[in-house]
Symmetry: C2
Subunit: 458 residues, 2 copies
C-alpha cells in the first residue's frame, strides 16, 4: 500500500558511501513520479544529493511531482544557480505556481539568471488570477497554420515533440493567431497516406475552448463532459493563449473534491495537506466556523429560556444541554471531515496516528478554551442570581473544553480505525460521530455538574 519508505535505507547507504552509479541508476530506472515518491521521505538536502545524479531535465521532471510546499523548501534553500536551472526546466504552468508560493526575495535572487524568453513567459502567465483557466494553462502546445500540408505538419510535430507538453491535439490558427480548428494526432497519423492534403481540410472546426478568465471548475466540467485530453485557452479575440492538459484537470478535480468535503464539513479549505498545515492555521480554519456555530447555538439556550416557566419548570443547567452537545458534535464532525479528506487525498495514513492525535489534541484545547470562555459568559448571564453562581457556572466552560477535546479526538480516531481495518473511513459519517459525541457530552456535562454543585439542586 505505502511503499515510500522502502528505499530509504538503501538511499541513505548509497549517499553515505557516495555510490554515484547506484544513485544515477535509481533516478533514471524508475518513473519520475516514483522517484519523487521515494525521495519524499528524505530531508530536502538529502533528496537534492540524490537528484543531482541525473540530468537537469529528468531532475525537473522528478521535482515537478513533489507537493508545492516541498518544492518551495527546495527553491528557498538552493543556490540561486541551482534554483534557476530547476525552475527553468519546469513546465510553464508549474513554474508560475511555484514562484507564487516562494519568498519574493528568493525569487528576485535567481530570476535574473533565467533566460529572457522564460522570464517574459512568467510575467505573461502571472497576470492571470488564481482559479482561472489562464493560471492553469501551459504555453507549450503544438500550433499549425491552416495551409500546412500533412507531410510538413508531421515533420514539424516530430521536431517539436520532445519539448511540447502534449502533441495529441494540434491546434490550427489563422494568420491572426486566432484558433480556427483542431486536429488530433490520431487524425494526422491516419492521413499519412495523403501527404499533400492541407491541415485546413482535415481539421475539426468545432473546437471546445475556454476563456482565460474562466473559472477552473468550469474548465474541469468541459474537459470531463467532452472527454478531452487537453482544452485550448483563448483570449477575448479568440486568439490562442495556451492549453490545459488532462493531468492538471485531474489535479484540480482532486483539490476541488477535498475542498468541497472540507467546506461541507464546516472547515474553511486548507491550502496545504493536513500534516503540513500549521496548528494555528488548522485551528483558525475550523475555529472561525466553530465560533459562529457556537454563538448560533447560544440561541438555543436563549430560546429555551423563553419557555422556562412553561411546561418545563427546569434547572438553568438544562438550558445549556443543546449548546454543549452541539459544540462536541461540530468539532467532531470537523475532525472527521479533515481526516477523511486527508486519507482520501493520500496525505495521511493510519501510521501517522500519533502525530494526528497530538495535532487534534492541541486544536481541541485551543478551540475548547475559546468556546468555553464564551460559554462561561453566557452561563453567568442566564444563571440564577446566587452568590455561588460564578462557581456553578463553571460547569459550562469545563464541559465545553472536555467535550470539544473528546470531539476532536474521537472525530479523528474513528475514521483512522476504520481505515486501518480496511473499511471505508467515510462510513464513520459526520452525523454518526456527532451522535456518539452527543451521548459522551451529556455524560461529561452531568458528571461535571454533580462534582461542582455537589448534588445540591441549583
Amino acid at each position: 500500500m505505502c511503499p515510500n519508505t522502502l528505499y530509504i535505507p538503501e538511499l541513505r547507504e548509497m549517499l553515505s558511501c557516495s555510490d554515484e552509479a547506484g544513485l544515477q541508476q535509481f533516478c533514471t530506472a524508475l518513473h519520475p513520479a516514483a522517484v519523487a515518491d521515494f525521495t519524499n521521505m528524505l530531508e530536502w538536502d538529502e533528496a537534492w544529493k540524490v537528484l543531482i545524479h541525473t540530468d537537469p531535465q529528468t531532475r525537473s521532471e522528478i521535482f515537478s511531482f513533489y507537493e508545492l510546499t516541498r518544492q518551495v523548501d527546495f527553491i528557498e534553500n538552493l543556490s540561486p544557480q541551482d534554483a534557476a536551472q530547476l525552475v527553468g526546466e519546469l513546465p510553464p504552468d508549474d513554474r508560475v505556481d511555484l514562484l507564487e508560493e516562494t519568498e519574493p526575495a528568493v525569487v528576485a535572487e535567481f530570476l535574473s539568471l533565467l533566460p529572457e524568453n522564460i522570464r517574459r513567459n512568467i510575467f505573461h502567465l502571472q497576470r492571470y488570477d488564481e482559479d482561472t483557466a489562464g493560471s492553469m494553462m501551459t504555453t507549450d502546445f503544438a500550433r499549425l497554420q491552416q495551409n500546412t500540408t500533412v507531410k510538413n505538419a508531421i515533420s514539424s510535430i516530430a521536431s517539436q515533440a520532445e519539448i511540447l507538453e502534449t502533441v495529441y491535439y494540434l491546434y490550427v490558427v489563422d494568420n491572426q493567431d486566432r484558433l480556427s480548428g483542431v486536429l488530433s494526432a490520431r487524425d494526422l497519423v491516419s492521413s499519412i497516406g495523403r501527404p499533400d492534403v492541407v491541415i485546413g481540410d482535415l481539421m475539426d472546426t468545432h473546437v471546445i475552448s475556454v476563456d482565460a478568465d474562466e473559472d477552473t471548475e468550469e474548465v474541469a466540467e468541459q474537459v470531463a463532459k467532452y472527454d478531452l485530453l487537453a482544452i485550448p485557452v483563448v483570449d477575448k479575440q479568440h486568439r490562442m493563449l495556451g492549453i490545459i492538459t488532462h493531468d492538471d484537470v485531474i489535479d484540480v478535480m482532486r483539490e476541488q473534491a477535498t475542498e468541497e468535503t472540507q467546506r461541507i464539513g464546516g472547515v474553511a479549505p486548507l491550502d496545504e495537506s493536513y500534516l503540513r498545515a500549521s496548528i494555528p492555521r488548522l485551528t483558525w480554519n475550523r475555529g472561525i466556523w466553530l465560533i459562529i456555530l457556537f454563538i448560533g447555538a447560544l440561541l438555543t439556550a436563549f430560546a429555551l429560556e423563553q419557555y422556562r416557566d412553561g411546561p418545563l419548570t427546569t434547572a438553568w443547567l438544562v438550558l445549556f444541554i443543546p449548546l454543549v452537545i452541539s459544540s462536541g458534535g461540530n468539532s467532531g464532525s470537523q475532525s472527521a471531515t479533515l481526516i477523511i479528506s486527508a486519507l482520501s487525498a493520500g496525505h495521511i495514513t493510519p501510521r501517522d496516528w500519533m502525530r494526528i492525535i497530538l495535532r487534534e489534541l492541541a486544536q481541541g484545547v485551543l478551540l475548547g478554551v475559546v468556546l468555553g470562555l464564551i460559554g462561561y459568559l453566557a452561563a453567568l448571564w442566564l444563571g440564577p442570581d446566587d452568590p455561588q453562581h460564578y462557581i456553578h457556572a463553571l460547569t459550562v466552560p469545563i464541559t465545553v473544553l472536555l467535550v470539544v477535546i473528546a470531539g476532536t479526538l474521537l472525530g479523528a480516531m474513528l475514521p483512522l480505525i476504520f481505515e486501518s481495518i480496511g473499511w471505508d473511513p467515510a462510513l464513520m459519517s459526520t452525523p454518526f460521530i456527532a451522535g456518539i459525541i452527543d451521548v459522551v457530552g451529556i455524560v461529561i456535562y452531568m458528571t461535571v455538574a454533580i462534582l461542582l454543585i455537589s448534588g445540591s439542586p441549583v
Copy 2:
C-alpha cells in the same frame, strides 16, 4: 450556464415538419456530447427520431454521452435490430456497463443479432466484478510486437487509428502476449526519421500497469499519480487484457467524490443522480442511517434520565430535547449533502427547486413518521405514570415529524439559494444547517408542548 433547453423548440419544430436536412445537420455539426446534452430534455422516442438522422457510428457516439439510466430506457424500448446496432458500435467497456443494467429478457432478444466477436468480447468483460479495473477497461487498444519497425508501426497504427479508443500509447507485447513495454505516439512520431529502428529499442520498459482485479479507486490513484492518458490492464501472467482511458478515470473520480460526500453526510451512496433516483430509494438510503442515528440518540434521553434526580430536577420533556434536535439536524445535513453533491455533479440546477422541494417534503414525511413512532414508544416508556401521559407523550412524535420535515426542506433549500445567488452551496455547511435547525427544533418542541399540555406543568 444551462443551455440544454435552448434547442428544444427548434428540434420539435424540425421533427414535426420532418426537416431531414436540418436534423442531419444538427447531429453532425455539434460535438456528440453537445448533441446528447440538447436531446437529453426530449422524451426517448423523440430523441431517437433525431438520432436516426445520422450514421450508426456517430449515433452510438452521441448515445454514449447519455447517462446510464437513459441509455437503458432506449435499449429496453427500441426494436432488437436497432438496439443491436446501437450496442454493437459502443466502446466495449460502455457496452458491458449498459448490458448489466438492462433487463436480461431484453438483452437476450438482441444479443444473438450481434456479431460473434462482439458477443465473445461481452462475455469476456462480464467476468470482472464491478469496481474492478477489469470492469472499466476497453479491449480496443494499439498493440505492437517488439520486432516491428518504426515504419511498419506507423502504417499499422494509421490503419487502425479510426477504430481504436486511443492511439496515444502503443503497447508492446512479446510473443506470449505479455506486456513488455510502452511507446507513446509522441516517441513514435519523433522517430519518424529512423524508419528501420525496431520498436523494442525505442520502448520504455517501465510500464505502469494494473491487475484486472485491482480496485477502481487504486486505478484512479495510479493514473493521477503518474499523469497517464491510459493505463494497461494485465492478468496474473502479465498478459495484456485491455486499457483504461483517462476519460473513464475522470468519470470514476467524479463518482467517487460524490459517493464520498454522500457517505460523509450519512447517506448511503446513490447509484443514480438525485432527480432520477426514486423517492423510496432516496428515503431508504438515508433512512437506514437516520434510524440508526435516532436509536443512538435515544441513548441521550436514557443518559439524561440517569441524572434526573441530580442537579437537574427536571420535567420529563427535557429528556427528549437532544433527541428531537438531533433528528432535525441529521435529516437537514443529509438533505444538504444530497443537494450539494447533486449540484456539484451537475445533476440538478436551482431551476429544479420545485421538484426538489416536493421530493424532500415526501422524504421528510416518510422519515418523520417512522422516527416519530419510535420516539413515541420511548416517550411512553420514560414519561410519568399519569392517565394523560399517552396524550402528553404525543409531543415527541409530532415534534419529530415537524422537525424532520423542517430539516429536509431547509437542508435542501439553503444550498439551492446559495447556488442561485452565485455563492458556493458548500458554504451552507452541514454543521451550519444543523445549527439553524437546532433553534427551529426547540421552538417547535416548546410550541407543541404548550399546545398539547395547555401550559400545565408535567
